[in-house]
Point group: D2
Chain length 352, copies 4
């Protein structure tokens, strides 16, 4: 524990892109102090050898993942490990009194059968998983405030559900007509050396992947079903875009009431997100650019209705590493700790 009044936080899996966002955010967060950086392959290295530009701000070494030591030194723990690892250490951390924010898929599913189907991994921590809360504050704020384990959402589900939630909650669309065409920068692939993610390959090109079988599908469907109070199946297609950061989710659905116009929806969305400081509904005719959200916890939403087809088209833009990952986890931390929801979270991007 730190000597100050600040809470001690640990970041387990600190070497990846999620980790470096968390380090940056938590360095400037007024209520916490980084007490533990841990990694697997990077253990023993100075954090600054991985990210030399932060050397003047971070003089920490990456340590081994030692659950006892982490629990002893940390009040709050962020897990940024590959899928299937958090479930091995989260139960013990919670038992020892830590609050845990998991950035992997391990605690996103209430129903571990869904997890096992899509992630091909058997799990034994059913009771822990049952306690976990899905960390999308705009939908599950109350539950997050009470949680000691938060399963932080994937990047695509975050952008998508912020676009869809008011429609589903109010029963305005036919859920079976939902089509989600999502586009992400390549940082979503993580700091892994892969040929298809090389600048030489990915720049000035564009393609879809995981068509009809991307693992974020069941996550989207779980939240959709919650809101619609019925089983919802969606069409979800992610695309890789030649840019570093950012997600745009373009969502299509048929309106139940063909008389609904854009202005109605702008009103409904504004009301729905009235208490959500990070969601910005754009005025008519303005559609979001991913760059607007760069480096912030914001989500920008644009809405159009097509009277010719009876469909609504909603576009939402976020920074995939921020609202789509690290800063949303910090937002959840703020809620569980009773701090101001916006505490330490950037809300002004640089432009251009």
């Amino acid at each position: 524990m730190t000597s100050s009044d600040k809470k001690a936080v640990g970041i387990i899996g600190a070497s990846g892109y999620g980790g470096v966002q968390l380090v940056r955010l938590l360095l400037e967060h007024p209520e916490v102090e980084i007490a533990y950086l841990a990694g697997d392959s990077s253990a023993g290295k100075k954090f600054a050898t991985l990210y030399p530009h932060l050397a003047h701000q971070v003089d920490l070494e990456i340590e081994k993942i030692d659950v006892d030591a982490i629990a002893k030194r940390c009040d709050l723990v962020f897990l940024g490990l590959p899928n299937g690892l958090a479930c091995n250490i989260a139960p013990e951390l919670i038992a020892k009194g830590c609050k845990v924010f998991d950035l992997s898929a391990d605690y996103r599913f209430r129903d571990l059968e869904t997890y096992t189907t899509w992630y091909q991994t058997e799990r034994k921590d059913h009771s822990t998983a049952a306690e976990a809360v899905y960390g999308l504050p705009e939908i599950y704020r109350k539950q997050i405030e009470e949680a000691s384990l938060v399963g932080c959402p994937g990047c695509y589900p975050t952008a998508t559900m912020l676009a869809l939630s008011p429609l589903l909650k109010q029963g305005l669309i036919l859920p079976e007509t939902i089509i989600i065409d999502a586009k992400s920068g390549t940082s979503g692939g993580g700091r892994q050396a892969k040929v298809n993610m090389l600048l030489a390959e990915a720049d000035n090109s564009l393609g879809a992947y995981g068509v009809a079988n991307h693992r974020h599908t069941p996550e989207i469907e779980q939240t959709c079903s919650d809101l619609a109070r019925q089983e919802v199946t969606v069409q979800f297609t992610p695309h890789l875009i030649p840019m570093v950061r950012g997600i745009l989710s373009t969502v299509y659905a048929n309106l139940r009431d063909p008389g609904l116009v854009r202005e109605d929806l702008l009103t409904i969305y504004s009301a729905f997100y009235r208490s959500s400081p990070f969601v910005k509904i754009l005025p008519k005719g303005i559609y979001p650019q991913t760059k607007w959200a760069y480096g912030t916890n914001l989500c920008y939403i644009g809405i159009q209705v097509d009277a010719r087809t009876g469909r609504v088209i909603v576009m939402s833009a976020i920074d995939n590493l921020m609202k789509g990952q690290a800063s949303q986890a910090v937002q959840c931390m703020n809620l569980t700790m009773g701090w101001e929801e916006t505490c330490g979270l950037p809300k002004l991007s640089f432009y251009p």
Copy 2:
């Protein structure tokens, strides 16, 4: 006319991106010789002052748009002017014996009322428009062979219709469920100085535009209706991607027969495009990258079926300035002249 056996071609509107593609392609085309470059604001300039890298290959001056002179010196004329100008000169060029390939929207519509509704321009050349053939060779090859006026398709309609045609022709989908989510590089905006097209603005960002009202919508609907033999209304959303060239069209539709599987569709598509040398159907699990089509007249098509939702998802990739514009016009020229369809058209991209 040129002194050789080659046909004399004119490029009217030579200073834009369409123009420079045509210059490049026609320089290497074995059957033609460039006899006339014309422009409006660029008249009087050497072509090489606009494109210095071609100075060693093109020593032509851009001339005024003088219809008499063009008709006198050219057998074949490509019009690359802004919308609403081709219709002023095409009738006279045809009357004087030229074959005309118009890259603007002027001759894409059989029904000029549709044109007037979407382009807000009254037209008087109804009889000329009625003669024009829509220049998508994979669908209208026979008609193009007979045409003296070809209305070359827009870039989005080309990518989209190559993805959709087999489905509509065979009646495999419910036309009212068609959703087209298209993505284009910024060169589609032309060589016009616009703030939102600056690298500083458009790079590392992504957004939709023209949602529910883009002018390529009626063009897509016209061809869809032809193939489906019924009025078809589609949902079409274009997006601007931070890259120079390339279009990916991701098309969604509900299958009439939920028992249809991907292999069936691969077979149907391969058969449909058997005589189309520029359309490449990708094997299962391979989805097209726009970069593959760079600098070629090719269209790559990937297909997936989602048994969970009963939908087919088709992705097609082209180079927006080539198959989406200039090289497709050359393909049409080849057909009207009875030359080999592939004559002078690149079919091997550079990679990466």
Copy 3:
């Protein structure tokens, strides 16, 4: 003036990239409040119509450039106008008691003859220009603290002088051997619609411009001469890089003492910049990436000595719109007001 204890600031020329950086920075600066946004062509518009992503934070209208009104309502004024305009209004603003920070070239030259030679503009405000201080805090900190008019440096001179100053100050190099090969993102060209700055033209390409005659040359030479206490002439070549933000200046010079090694220089640089919180000297073998400085007021410096040639090579990286423009102006403001030099200035970039 604002009703709070905060100082009232005006931003004249608020619509460009410099303006939007200033707005963003000053919104988060604890000691000031934005009291006046002004522009020429943009007067009468809401700032948020130009930058919709800031609508939730800025509800100001851009007003006309009315010197009286500005002076009445502002304590501190930032001028972000095209070259040759600041000199028309700065004298009056100063006379009325404002402190002025000019981002144009107007007040960068002690000797207005140099200005007139390179900028082809006659000037009458010689006495005002004589009072102005060159706003590079790492070299002229003391003078800036006393100044009421600061001529903020160009982006290239900032990066270059931070790389060169220790060498010149200590007399370690032969000044006539200085060669500066600089590289900038395209945002340096401003929010002006120019064909060569379009993404379609500038992306995936690279070229030099202004070779041997770029206007930042005399600015670099003025500071070099100050430090070397002799007239210095430099070779300066800027290049346009296909990226949005960032400058890398690669500087070459022959060492006077061929026995000097890299470690000596690392020591000398670290000492020179000991009291400069925004300059970071990198350890041996680490060379700066422009991205490290993105969105911050930092300058990263890497040093190498080539024993084979007797030269030192220094590389410095900054964000051209921040330390190269807007945030450096805020740093100057902090100094003139006696505030903490780092107040309100970002020092942690996002990565990647």
Copy 4:
């Protein structure tokens, strides 16, 4: 051997970027037929599984590197292997009658001591190395015509020597003042998965590497020394640019005769390259863009003289994978075979 009149070529190391360029170029070369594709880790795979976009043109499998089989089936062999491997098989291939074009560094050095110093590899094939000719046609055309082993130049040395050769050959500059500031797209790093080459890392950033110790330095010095007829030591600094393809080399040197003006140099360069169809000297005030050379074997050269400093600045732009690698090797093949030098080589880029 092929049954036609065409010569049979083998590409050993076909899976990398050099390999895929060669495949593409040789498919369209009228005098040759691809008879053998070989690789190490990729042996046994269809070439089309590595590059699906070429599946319609290439139905070859990548075979093992079997020197006997290669020599039996091929007249001409391109080696695109990592440094230190070509020297193990080239001697035998030559002994069996093949002409060999090596794209690695193995046969670029007349003096193998230099090779060993910079590449840390002992070599035994001194007599083979002594026969090898450096494959820069613009300088060593006559020798290449007689060669059976060509050591093809590195990408940076190609761009740099085309910029420097006329100056050195005519004795116009002081060789000890040569500074080469070079910039390359990331495809120069090859199709290797490396973290620093990921789009997420390399895009929108810029940095130097290999400062004062890059392995292309001795290669540049060898050719400089040849031309200057004295030992020349140069300063060479490469930079990584956020783009796929292209190299710009900006070269600085002090003129011996300060009275020389740009027009003199334009004349000298034009004369020097009169018989070199791929080198284009740009008129005054025009500086090369790397994009102009994209996909071609061209080199564009721009020249400026700075009377203030007495220096000449030469900028040369090439496509690093073409003139900087694969198409230059084909140019060498054309010369050794007595074919037209330009045969099968693109000289028109796409733009933009």
